[in-house]
Symmetry: C2
Subunit: 427 residues, 2 copies
């Protein structure tokens, strides 16, 4: 086998053969549809950024450990973007005086993280990002959650299969205050909450006590994390759920005090969607409100809310649920056959005429026995084959063959388009 000597792909990268590409496009197309339904504009940022852009937010070490970082020829450290929000903040800040606010933007593109490849995680992945900037209200937060819920609905996931869990950082901070957990400890405690589902109960208790919490504080914390009515104490969450109802997506959303979101920049509403029916435990998407990000990259203060969804987890989930549309190899529903060398160019002309009428048309690339050409059409998922043989040429006709039913009719050349349309409608 020649393939033994092939130069392999880099670990954690992605090869999109046409079938995988169709799946990526399905996700992209539904993300696009959901974004546009709410009036969001598509944009994109550079794929390469300086390490400083991320260091401003997450600390240089974190970026260096989880990202692809390399020195430029000039010695500057370049990063393959691990996320979009810092680039968004820079681009908004650059045109802060020209843009019409609220800015509603969405994007879909490649990202890279240097992590161990595993189920639901690759080093190269695609991510859908949606953000609104310039409005700070629970209703704006609700709109972002509605965009996410609309996507879930559009791909065919029910609320019983995929749910968006919501919490509020300010609400949790108030609870932490009431338990006299100091502001300096909050980040550690939040991270502990994020890990809770993955740890044994007793081990987790121990871990929290080791962080310096007293037994009463631990008990109080566990009471909070089990209180699913806590949202009623938050004016913001009451307004949020009210708006979600008006937006018609409340059935996809639930309050959950255990949702914390590790990232430093969230300041209010936070949310994460999970597969609640099945086997994928990683979050499908996640986001929240960030009040300080523009200031952190050097812009004027401006509040924003947004979320991101990678293509890998949702791809696994859609496959498991059978929600990826059947793959049709050829984008052309019509094959023009080549009967023999003398009619080759006449067949190409026929194809060209049909293309001018807007049909996607594939041609057989050379003269060959017709059954072989029909077999090719069949393997490519082509529905209709056209034959221009000596008889057809002599009578100014074309044979139009329905490959699904193996029926055919001979029609005048001017009638070909109508005959194809008829056949495709009955297929």
């Amino acid at each position: 086998m020649a393939s033994k000597t092939l130069i392999p792909a880099v670990k954690g990268t992605r090869e999109f053969y046409p079938e995988e590409m169709a799946q990526r496009n399905f996700i992209y197309e539904k993300a696009r549809q959901a974004s546009r339904l709410f009036g969001y504009q598509e944009w994109d940022a550079p794929f390469l950024e300086t390490i400083e852009l991320y260091a401003a937010k997450s600390g240089e070490e974190l970026v260096k450990e989880q990202s692809f970082v390399f020195p430029d020829r000039g010695g500057d450290l370049i990063t393959l973007r691990p996320e979009l929000t810092p680039s968004l903040a820079r681009m908004i800040a650059q045109k802060q005086n020209e843009l019409v606010f609220p800015v509603r933007w969405w994007s879909f593109g490649p990202f890279w993280r240097y992590e161990r490849p595993q189920r639901g995680r690759t080093r190269e992945f695609f991510q859908w990002n949606v953000d609104m900037l310039g409005v700070n209200s629970p209703e704006a937060d609700a709109e972002l959650i509605a965009v996410a819920a609309t996507f879930l609905k559009l791909v065919g996931l029910t609320p019983e299969q995929a749910t968006i869990f919501v919490n509020n950082r300010r609400l949790m901070d108030a609870q932490f205050d009431a338990l006299q957990i100091s502001p300096e400890k909050r980040m550690e405690v939040s991270n502990a909450v994020d890990r809770r589902a993955k740890m044994e109960a007793a081990k987790w208790d121990e871990y929290v006590l080791e962080l310096g919490l007293k037994r009463e504080q631990l008990d109080g914390l566990k009471q909070i994390l089990g209180n699913y009515d806590l949202w009623q104490q938050s004016e913001e969450l009451i307004r949020l759920f009210n708006a979600l109802e008006a937006l018609g997506v409340k059935d996809y959303v639930r309050f959950d005090p255990n949702i914390m979101r590790g990232l430093l920049y969230y300041t209010g509403t936070v949310f994460e969607a999970f597969d609640v029916s099945g086997s994928v435990r990683r979050a499908i998407l996640g986001g929240g409100r960030y009040d300080n990000l523009l200031r952190d990259v050097g812009g004027d203060p401006l509040s924003g809310v947004g979320f991101a969804m990678g293509d890998v987890v949702i791809g696994i989930l859609l496959k498991e649920k059978g929600l990826i549309p059947a793959f049709i190899p050829s984008p052309a529903p019509v094959l023009v056959t080549v009967f023999d060398a003398s009619l080759w160019m006449a067949s190409y002309s026929l194809a060209a005429e049909l293309r001018a009428e807007g049909w996607n048309v594939i041609t057989y690339p050379e003269p060959a026995k017709l059954p072989k050409q029909f077999k090719f059409a069949d393997r490519m998922g082509v529905k209709v084959a056209l034959v221009l043989g000596p008889e057809e040429a002599a009578s100014g006709k074309v044979t139009v063959k329905n490959l699904a039913t193996a029926t055919q009719e001979s029609v005048a050349r001017i009638e070909v388009s109508a005959a194809i349309r008829r056949m495709l409608a009955t297929n």
Copy 2:
């Protein structure tokens, strides 16, 4: 100004604000349309590859000098892909026994080259790639040229503005043989031909003589490069032009013996499209037949033909000719206003209902004076605004306002969709 302290983008990278994104999408959409008209399937390769994949073809030094190359944590040299064809060869070779041939594939994605940024050249760029593998004939070459010509036609470029110049490596080799230019010198002479347009005539003569050609060889070479009937000596080119005529694109294509294509892997037909009317001297697109590429990456021998088009040169050209469609900021033709706090949620419900009917709807994010909301709609290119005020709410109606004509009508809620449709039709 806060922006003075902003962390800037990396030199040569691209920031796509919504207007630039719309332009990128316009090019992508037309490339997609042209590809699909001929039945090509979309695919994509990894963005990161090992340096060995490119070194197999171009020599490691060339890749290191013109590409972004960096060491992986494991010490392997990783490259940001500078071109697609080596990845294509690897992916085809990996599934050589499963794929249905001819393979007709197209792709559109990001690429990187470490070059000095200048007009028509950025370090980060997008490239459209189209390839057919498994057929070795001038008719297959003609199909690829027809896809390129169809793209030029679809974006509105006439043959007088953009022309595809064609040559044949085998024809040129035969001419070089006749002049007794040795095979070892061919690559250098080819490169000299590529540079000719950019050099003074006398300097070029000198340069070619310095390569070791005799005066008679130089004269013979210049005669060949001025002979635009030379194609008649090539059976392949005669068949190629015959097929281009059948495919209806001959007016976009001309023979030119000066087209050489520097890349080592071309073996037969070569072609490049240029702006023949204007100021952009860099090639719009280029390609040709490559017979040995699969073998070079470790696959079984398989002939292919393809071309690539970057987004930068064509973008400049389309802008200069006024062929980029006018930018409409908002993807939503409809704004739902928010009259006051008491009717806010009713307005959101109205928006949700219209979205369920398939309309892209943007909402004003909070209660505000109506003129301010109309002004926002106007700046976003939104055509129709809906008002749900106390009167409308009391009578079960909605005011539908045509922002272009400043006319409006009050209709029952169930009639809103029809009223919007009417107004958009007359705009």
